[in-house]
Subunit: 258 residues, 2 copies
């Protein structure tokens, strides 16, 4: 049992703050699903902290190829951002890759979150992009990082599946060679029209803004088209994660039908 | 300015509890967007409570055809379930309609949430169903009601747009005459297959379960088909609201293309 004042534990605790994540190039993955997904990825987990109860409950921790240390429930709780901590947290190496690496692999479907503000949305859209078979997710701006505890949790393991490009400038999203589609409630083109005319079958970069403010002008300008998800009822808009799911699955379907 | 001990205010405060909502047939809609959507619906709002600041900020409150009373910021806060109350809350009449009324209008697209547990998901799927042009949303079971503060807020006004059938038994979802599709990660049929073969153009009742446990057997049994949203990447599943968005928009598109 590590003492609550242990230096490695104290260093891990600091990773709940963004500045410490940036400086150290490390982040925390919390809960059995995230820790298991992290352990399945090579060279990702540095160490795991778990309570006695978690060590009994999650047998797979015993065969992990990294150090697994028992900590007190209080220490595990201090590493957690949830109301009901599950007693297991992994310290992981940051995973983001350069945009050029993603582009070099001739991606077919990429989702970019432009200056997102809500870490839950970042994680949820990462999960949806993974499910839709996206080749990468890009997060621009520096308001919310993908290693935020809420984002990691909402991604349900997908942070460890999909290459992530982090913290780049919006301007870098121009000139990728991909058909660039900007989502907007006032978009020029209806998503169904693009599905019908075959446009969605092209390698595509989707740009998603924030729910409150949409995309900044800089992002709208570099898009080939602005696209709206059709609203058939009286709702003013879809929520961001729902809109992203509809767009990414429309692309996935069009690309698979050739 | 009403005193914080005012009897109508005390009655409104009780509506933050489900038992009081059920007994009184009333609920609270909080924040300018929800209150405005409620006021646009006939015979819905009974009274509005607003702070002095909200009365200045939201000019449309002055022309409301129902009583609008000024209350203290503390009293408005006590009616609110948000961290940053916006100072305006409407007391509304419950809106749910009998299932037979919905079926009598020959609906084309209906979403049923079977024994949901997360009020945020209920509200988000209501919003998505509204956007997709659904004719009604059904909520079965009694764990979460659609008038829960979080559900009302997440619906972003759609609770006042789409007919809602509340609190019915799962067994009542059989024999609606609609093609009944149950979503399941282990579904027999792929959503894309149904889109390709024209099945989605039929009048459809979608059944959605909970994210943790899916649909109960009783719901799976009464479905014509069990349907899975295809997972093209490594994600184990989509989150519930994202899956619902993909399914409902697939139906909306198929129905509009005939």
């Amino acid at each position: 049992l590590l003492s609550d004042g242990n230096a490695r534990l104290a260093a891990a605790r600091r990773l709940t703050r963004r500045s410490a994540r940036r400086e150290s190039g490390r982040f925390l993955a919390e809960g059995p699903a995230a820790v298991q997904a992290a352990l399945q990825r090579p060279d990702t987990v540095i160490e795991v902290f778990a309570t006695a109860a978690a060590l009994v409950r999650y047998e797979w921790l015993r065969t992990a190829a990294v150090p697994v240390d028992e900590v007190s429930p209080a220490a595990a709780g201090a590493l957690s951002e949830t109301v009901t901590p599950q007693g297991v947290v992994a310290v992981c190496r940051s995973l983001d890759v350069p945009l050029d690496d993603v582009l070099a692999r001739a991606p077919r479907l990429v989702a970019a979150l432009v200056e997102p503000r809500d870490p839950g949305n970042v994680g949820t859209i990462l999960r949806t992009a993974d499910a839709a078979g996206a080749d990468a997710v890009i997060v621009s701006g520096d308001a919310v990082d993908v290693y935020n505890g809420k984002a990691v949790r909402a991604s349900a393991g997908s942070l460890f599946h999909v290459p992530v490009v982090a913290g780049i400038d919006v301007a870098d999203l121009g000139g990728t060679g991909l058909t660039t589609l900007a989502t907007s409630g006032q978009g020029d083109t209806d998503l169904d029209t693009l599905a019908d005319d075959g446009s969605l079958a092209a390698p595509t970069l989707w740009l998603f803004g924030t729910e409150a403010h949409g995309l900044p002008d800089a992002a709208l300008k570099l898009a080939d088209r602005t696209v709206r998800v059709p609203i058939y009822g009286q709702a003013e808009s879809l929520n961001l994660a729902a809109a992203a799911a509809v767009c990414l699955y429309a692309s996935a379907r069009a690309q698979r039908r050739g």
